[in-house]
């Protein structure tokens, strides 16, 4: 799990399995993350190989973390099996999904 900063805010790259153990790591990393109002927290799942229900819980925790900070939340490059789970549980309507981290970190046109 590596963190980097994009113009839009922090990007967490999640590699390997987002199972019970790594889900806890993600939740710990979240607490150390500085997220300012108006920024966007992006989880880049391009290298994620597996995500079980603990992984989904961690994604929800990340979403809530962003909400609490009045920040945006987006997922990038969600693998097909995980996209299927997100669709079943209705979270594809809640999370903003982007095909890759480039589009996920593109600043939104400012609205007035």
């Amino acid at each position: 799990m590596t963190a980097r900063d994009a113009a839009t805010g922090p990007v967490l790259e999640i590699a390997g399995e987002l199972d019970h153990v790594h889900a806890n790591t993600l939740r710990e990393v979240l607490t150390t993350l500085t997220l300012r109002p108006g920024q966007r927290l992006v989880l880049d799942l391009a290298a994620m190989e597996f995500c079980d229900s603990s992984g989904i819980t961690a994604l929800i925790a990340a979403y809530r973390h962003a909400q609490a900070a009045h920040a945006d939340f987006a997922l990038a490059a969600v693998p097909a099996p995980t996209r299927r789970i997100l669709r079943i549980v209705g979270l594809d309507q809640t999370f903003r999904l982007h095909p890759d981290s480039d589009t996920a970190t593109r600043p939104r046109p400012t609205t007035t």
């Binding site: 939740r27 229900s53 603990s54 209705g90």
Partner: protein
Amino acid sequence: MCRTGQPDPHDAGDEQTSDAAFAALLEDSAEELYESAPCGYLSTLMDGTIAKVNTTLLGWLGLERAAVVGRMRFPDLLTVGGKLYHETHFAPLLRMQGEIGGIALEVKRAGGARMPVLVSSVVKHGDAGEPLLIRTTVFDARDRRAYEEELLRGRKAAEEARKQAEADRARLQEALAVLQQSLLPATLPPVPGVETAAHYHTASPDRLGGDFYDVFPVDGKRFAFFLGDVCGKGPQAAAVTSLTRYTLRAAALHDPDPVSALSTLNKVLHERYTGSGDPRYCTAVFGTLEPDPVTGQVAIHLASGGHPPVLVLRADGTADFLPTPGGLLVGVLPSARFVTATTCLAPGDTLLLYTDGLTEARTGQDRTSLYGDEALLAFAARHAGKSPTDVIQALTDLLDGFGAGLDDDTALLALGAPAPTL
């Protein structure tokens, strides 16, 4: 470490001094050594009569030499148990082998006390090989016995701790079983005009499951049913399951509308677990069924929150998912969208609800592929037209067939309009 082969210059002088000191110390006679050795010595004739005994042993026994020598036999020094053992084992073995070593016996002391000892004997033979006498050493084994008793006590304590742990474990398992039962109905209530069947597969008997289902009456005409899956496992998940089950039951009595019941549950779960840093949620299908006694049809209204679509098995041998796309997990957001669906079960039709333990079961040689929706749909079509009981039985056999590939709890609930009896 290195050796040079050169003698240490200090050694020579030291050796001389210590030799002299040893000589002075060792000037006691063999007789003195015999009498005051740190063990008992005695010599007996072949019939056991004591011919010679040392002071140390006399001291332990608390006896005068005159009372012992020529007057007592070796077995007379032993306790009753010791005497018996001497007669049956010690003496015969000694006669056979000519020596015997390290036998634990107890000697009687003058005050009536017993003293544990270790006895070794050897037969002295004459020039012609004839046995002459028996030489015996007696070692004080009181400390050793105390040590052994300590070991025994320790072992007993460990044994008791183990028994206690086993009893605790049994009690815990019983408590878990009782709690688990409180999460599921013991039996489904009879629903007039509807046949029901259910099955719960526990992945691990030690762990409280997170799947749940229920069927119960809401008013004179309608019954409510639900089935779902709480995230996670263990006691925390079971607490959510319990909260979920009783919230849905209470909500349905107030307003049996499926979206209304799920919305109430959503609110309860979200409020309970928000801010805990530990989001808890569930997937659920909640519905009502209303049998029409005239037509034998059963009207189904249901809503889904993040749950896989239910299946409808038709009497004509077809099966279809009843899609509820976009219904959100229950408890994740303060307000959630739930998706409704309706259908009508004609006689011989069955509605099948399941949790994803079934579709996520790992199949294939290397257990890497999932059973999946399509296989389930095909399986359902093969059993369409059968009664709910038969459908659940077939699925139970299917689950059993997954073996180790099924590592999650799985709940199954089938509700059917009975086929007309011919």
